[in-house]
Structure formats: C-alpha cells, structure tokens
C-alpha cells in the first residue's frame, strides 16, 4: 500500500513537473504575413469615408488556407480607419454558422462577409441577411440563389486544374515525352471543389493526349499527403509528372518523395503557400510550379464590402457600383515569377 502511494506521489510529482515544463512550450509566434492591400494615396476610394461595420464569419477549419482567409480579412479591415470589423465564430458546422449569423444579422452590421461551411446549406442565411437590408459578400462557396448575395468573390477550381494540366502538358511536350506517366494527389475527394479541380486537370491533359495514370486522394493534411504520396510512388515506380492539389498536404507529399528517394519527375502544387513558393524559388526539390487559389480573396472581399457599404464602385471601372461576381484567375507560379508572388504566399 505504501509502495503504491509512493509510486503515486512520484507519478504526481513527475506530472506536475512535466506540466510546468510543457506549458512553456505552447508559444507559437504566429508572425502572420497577411495579404493586405495598402496603397492608393491618390485614390478617392482609399480616403476615409462613411463608417462601415463589416460582420465576418468563416469556418474554424484546421487548414492553413482557411486560417489565412480569416487573418487576411482581419488585417485588411485594420488598414481602414472607417471600418469596424466584427468577426463571429462560425462554430463547428453549417448549423452552428447559421445560428451565429442570425445573431450577427440582429446586430445590423453594414455589410456581411462570409465564407459559408457550405453554400447550399447557408443559402437561407444569405437570403435572411439580404432581406434585412444587409448586403452579403459570399467568399468562395457560392449560394445557389442569386438573391442571397450582393457580391460573390471566389477562386476558380476548374481553372486551377486547367492551369496545372496545361503546365504539365507544356513541360512534357517540350521534353518530348510521348507517353507520360502522370500522378495526381487530390484533396478530400467527396468535395465538389476537388471534383472540379480534377475535371479541369483531365480536360487540360486531354488536349495533349495525356491522361492520369494513378490518383490517390489525401485529406488536405500533411500526414494524409504523405500516406497518399507513398502509395502513389509505390504504384508508379517511374513517373513523369505529379499534380498535388494542395500545398498544405504537399508538405507531406514532398516528405514522402524524399523518403522514397525519388526525383525522376516534376511536381506541380496547388493554392500557393509560402512554403511552396519558397521551394519553387530554391529549386532544390521536385516541386517546380504551383497553381494559385489565393486566400487573398478575403482581403479583396473586405475592401469591396467597404465600398459596397459606402455605396462606391471600383474606381478603375465605369460602373458606379461594385460588380456582382468576381472569379479570381488561377495563376501559375514558377521559378521565373516566384519573386513576384512571394508576398502573396500564405
């Protein structure tokens, strides 16, 4: 009995000591390199105007891209003296976000910017806000009903696949590879965005007469990327090109390639993370390019939400109001232009 309690005391002491040591280890200087637009001293739109309250809601998903979306929106709002930024937690799912949005609507912000969990499921929330006279800026995940949003700004998933396919097709054509072996590592396969990316990729490859030899989906996480890439590399002992849909999972994909000691192919990434752009610049891995799907759209969304709130248009356009839909082009980042994009990496 006494031995047992001594053991317990030791155990407890060790636990307390370790706990004290560990709590010091949670610090993580974020050093957020947010993507912010801060220019235009001569631009009338930049001058402080009518006070605007922007309500913001985005899912709390554990992914670098979503984190960058929220950071960007916050940072962009902070650059305006006439903007009050009111972020609400989107909660764990679509239902929670709907609840959070009704609270937000009751507070009567000037404009609401939201990245919905799911466009279809949050469509009603968009309609409710619009009916309450609050313009809604939809970020990236479209509402089916055009009445549910004032502005929709999103990335181009199909175009992303197209860009990746075109880059790979051109490279292989230049190298004179006639019957290339091409691998693909998509993200979560059940998502519509993944399917659109793959469709674009296949369409672009088809114009060169190429097709994907093997496709192993991951889950947008580095460890799933490592597992998918390991399986893919084992299935294709020789490969010419690889498209990985997402640079975050790409960390694991690159690790797997290194662990398997492979280098006979080149790889294209997706999204345009800082790590990927750095690797492309350094040019010491198989990663030679990445096609963007930039979270900078959140910064632009806040800028445009402010203009909508103030009733202004985009000063370079003829129209007096902000357009209704904006789709970002997916750009291809290679070593040649990587320096230009370095500040946009997230």
């Amino acid at each position: 009995m006494s031995a047992l309690s001594r053991r317990r005391v030791l155990f407890g002491g060790a636990a307390v000591g370790a706990g004290a040591l560990l709590t010091a280890c949670t610090s993580n200087d974020p050093g957020t390199g947010a993507q912010v637009k801060t220019n235009a001293s001569g631009d009338a739109n930049a001058a402080p105007g009518q006070k605007v309250t922007i309500g913001f809601s985005a899912p709390a998903a554990d992914h670098g891209w979503i984190a960058a979306i929220t950071n960007n929106a916050k940072a962009q709002a902070a650059t305006y003296s006439d903007v009050e930024f009111k972020a609400v937690e989107a909660g764990a799912d679509a239902a929670a976000q709907r609840a959070a949005l009704s609270t937000l609507i009751a507070q009567k912000p000037t404009v609401i910017v939201m990245l919905p969990w799911d466009g279809k499921e949050l469509n009603a929330a968009g309609l409710e806000a619009m009916r309450a006279g609050i313009p809604v800026v939809n970020l990236d995940r479209a509402f089916p009903s055009a009445a549910a949003y004032r502005l929709q700004i999103k990335g181009d998933n199909y175009g992303m696949g197209l860009a990746a396919g075109q880059y790979i097709g051109e490279q292989l054509k230049t190298k004179g590879v006639t019957n290339p072996i091409i691998g693909e590592i998509p993200g979560i396969d059940s998502l519509e965005l993944t399917q659109e990316r793959t469709q674009g990729f296949n369409a672009a490859l088809a114009t060169y007469g190429f097709k994907v030899a093997n496709r192993r989906p991951a889950e947008f996480t580095a460890d799933s990327g490592q597992a998918a890439a390991t399986a893919l590399l084992q299935a294709l002992p020789k490969m010419d090109a690889l498209w990985n849909h997402d640079d975050d999972q790409g960390i694991g994909v690159l690790a797997a390639i290194k662990q398997a000691n492979r280098s006979e192919f080149f790889m294209v990434g997706g999204a345009g993370s800082k790590a990927a752009i750095d690797a492309i610049t350094a040019d010491n891995t198989v990663l030679k390019a990445t096609v963007t799907y930039s979270p900078s759209m959140a910064s632009s969304a806040v800028t445009l939400a402010r203009l909508i709130g103030q009733g202004k248009g985009m000063s370079d356009l003829v129209e007096l109001q902000v357009p209704k839909e904006i789709t970002l082009a997916s750009e291809t980042i290679t070593k040649a232009n990587a320096d230009k994009y370095a500040k946009l990496g997230f």
Binding site: L4, A15, A18, G19, L21, L22, A24, C25, T26, S27, N28, D29, P30, A60, A61, D62, H63, G64, I66, A67, D189, A213, N214, R215, R216, P217, E219, F220, T221, A222, D223, S224, G225, Q226, A227, T230, A231, L232, Q234, A235, P237, D248, I251, G252, L254, A255, A256, K258, Q259, A260, A275
Partner: protein
C-alpha cells in the same frame, strides 16, 4: 508466437487449450488473408511483382505505413482488453504532434520534442483514465469528449496552421534505415514485442485481462481496478505520443487535423485481430496482423489505381467478415468438441 492468451501459470485445461487453438487459428486466418491479398496483387500487377527490388521495397513500405497506426493499435488493444475503449487516440496524436512542433518546443531540439510528445500523450491518457475511473464516466463518453477537446486545443495552439518541423533529427527518423529496414518498422517491432511481453508475461498483463473480463471479481481478488484502468489509458496515451513523433517525422510537420479517424482504424484492427470489444480477451499479434491487413489493402488498391471509396467498402466488409468467421468457427468448433 503461439501462446497468446493462455496465462503461463495456468495448467492447460481442455478449455484453455481450445482457446489457444482458437487464437492460433485466427492468426493463421489473418495470415491467409494477407497471402490472398498478395496473390491478388501478383495476379493484377505481374509487371510490378516481377521485380524483386520492387517487391522488397513494397513490403517495407507496407510495414512503414503501418508503423504509426500499429503502435496506436497496441495501446488500443490493452485498453479494449481492459474493458474500455479509447476514441481519443487520433486527437491525442494531433495534440502531442502539434505541441511537439511549436516554435518554442522546437527550440529545445529533438529530445525536447520527443519528451513533449510523450508527456502530452501520457498526460491526456491519465486525464482519460481518471475521468473514467474516479469520475465514473463511461469510457465512450469520456474519450469522445477528449477527442473533441484535444483537437480543439491542438487547433488553438497551432493557430490552425500546419506546423513544419525544422528539426533534421526528427525528420530523419522516417528516412533512417537499420540493416536495410526503416527505423519506423523497428520501432513498431519493439512496441509489439514489448506489448506482447507486457500482456502475456507480466502481472500487469494478467491484471488487464482480469479487469476487462470481470472487474468485480478482479476487485475482490485484490486488484486496484480503478488505478489499473488509469494506467491502461495512460499506456494508450504513451503509444499515441510515440505515434505522434513517428507521424510528425513522416509528414515533416504536424497539425490539428492530423491522424484523422485513427481511432476507428485502431479499433477495427484490434477487433479483427481477435480482441473482444467487451474486454477480457485479445492478442497483440492478432492486432498487428489486423493493422497489416489494412495497410496491405491500401497498397493493393493503390497499385491498381482503384478508388478509395471502394477501398473503404472492402475494409468494412473485411471487419464484418472477420468477426462473422470467428463466431462461426468458434461455434462449429464447440459443436465438434461436444460430439
């Protein structure tokens, strides 16, 4: 390899002899499944299997990809034999991995990172165990709550970012080979061996079986059931901490969403390995075979470029089939003996 559950100091009564045969038969059955999977691979992809280097490489890859989940499964097997369940293993891995890769922890070097991961794993396991033993929470609920909150804390610490490991020593764990075999596979082998000894050759193992089989009888026999349960969850947590290091090394990073659904893979592997979900019975070697079956299926589907949806359906089918076959064989065996 054979004497799985029969406690060493119990004379082989007819009953325990039958149990022993049952375990051997089950493990042989799982080996049979593995052989069938490999044969399917050979038939469908002869061009790959005709290259001995590729085959050797493939076996090592399957083992390596099974290593982290295998370590988790050993811990899970102990918890299940002890009458519990640990739904939080994936979340513990994420928390341990994230905690071990913060910039602050990384500044303490590889030893600091490994220490952090192991201690976080043990600590979370202890909390699970205390909640279940002394807070009288049902294991399912306690570890479900831990699943949610540990991932939440991991997301909080990481700021939802993927934390890249800049530590070469940690990253090289996944690339190092000893005698031509990846270090990760050696770690798995050591953990399985240690788990086997712990379960079959120590009082701790005997107590685990007793606690899971009949907690009241175990208590009357003088076993501190509550404290033993705490230790089982701490052991599972320790395995998760170790797995976190292995996964972090493989992915050269950690994030709050890592090791997604590992709890289900680990439970499934333990079950098809012959561990009784109600506790009191189970084998480490069987659990290892369970993990290897899943890893081999993943490999088989990859080399044939089949979709992961089909793969998941087959996995589900194998779980059901394994349990059905076990029941069926057990029943027919009993009938045979009665005759």
């Amino acid at each position: 390899m054979i004497a799985q559950t029969a406690p060493p100091d119990v004379r082989p009564s007819p009953k325990s002899k039958r149990r022993l045969d049952d375990n051997t038969a089950r493990n042989l059955g799982l080996v049979g499944v593995l052989v069938v999977l490999v044969v399917i691979g050979i038939v469908t992809k002869p061009e790959l299997y005709s290259d001995p280097t590729w085959v050797r490489n493939n076996v090592l890859t399957i083992l390596q990809q099974a290593s982290a989940i295998g370590v988790v499964t050993v811990g899970m097997t102990f918890v299940i034999i002890g009458g519990g369940i640990d739904l939080s293993v994936g979340a513990i891995i994420a928390l341990a991995g994230v905690w071990a890769t913060t910039l602050a922890t990384q500044s303490h070097g590889a030893a600091g990172m490994i220490f952090t991961a192991l201690v976080v794993g043990i600590a979370v396991g202890l909390i699970n165990g205390v909640l279940i033993s002394y807070g009288r929470l049902v294991p399912f609920i306690a570890t479900l709550a831990m699943l949610v909150s540990a991932r939440g804390l991991a997301a909080q610490i990481s700021g939802k970012q993927t934390q890249v490991s800049a530590n070469d020593t940690i990253n090289s764990i996944a690339t190092t080979k000893l005698l031509g075999v990846p270090l990760l596979v050696w770690i798995l082998a050591l953990v399985v061996a240690a788990g086997w000894v712990l379960l079959n050759r120590t009082t701790f193992g005997r107590r685990t079986v007793a606690v899971g089989g009949n907690p009241e009888a175990a208590r009357l026999a003088g076993i501190n059931v509550k404290w033993h349960t705490v230790l089982l969850y701490a052991l599972s947590g320790l395995c998760c901490g170790l797995a976190a290091i292995m996964l972090t090394s493989q992915a050269t990073s950690a994030q709050a969403a890592m090791a997604n659904l590992y709890e289900l893979d680990a439970i499934a592997a333990a079950i098809i390995g012959g561990t009784l979900l109600s506790g009191g019975r189970g084998t480490i070697v069987g659990a290892l075979f369970g993990v290897l079956v899943f890893s081999t299926i993943t490999n088989l589907f990859a080399i044939n470029n089949l979709s992961t949806e089909v793969q998941n359906m087959v996995k589900g089918g194998i779980i059901v089939a394994a349990v059905l076959i076990q029941q069926f064989r057990y029943r027919s065996l009993t009938q045979l003996l009665k005759r």
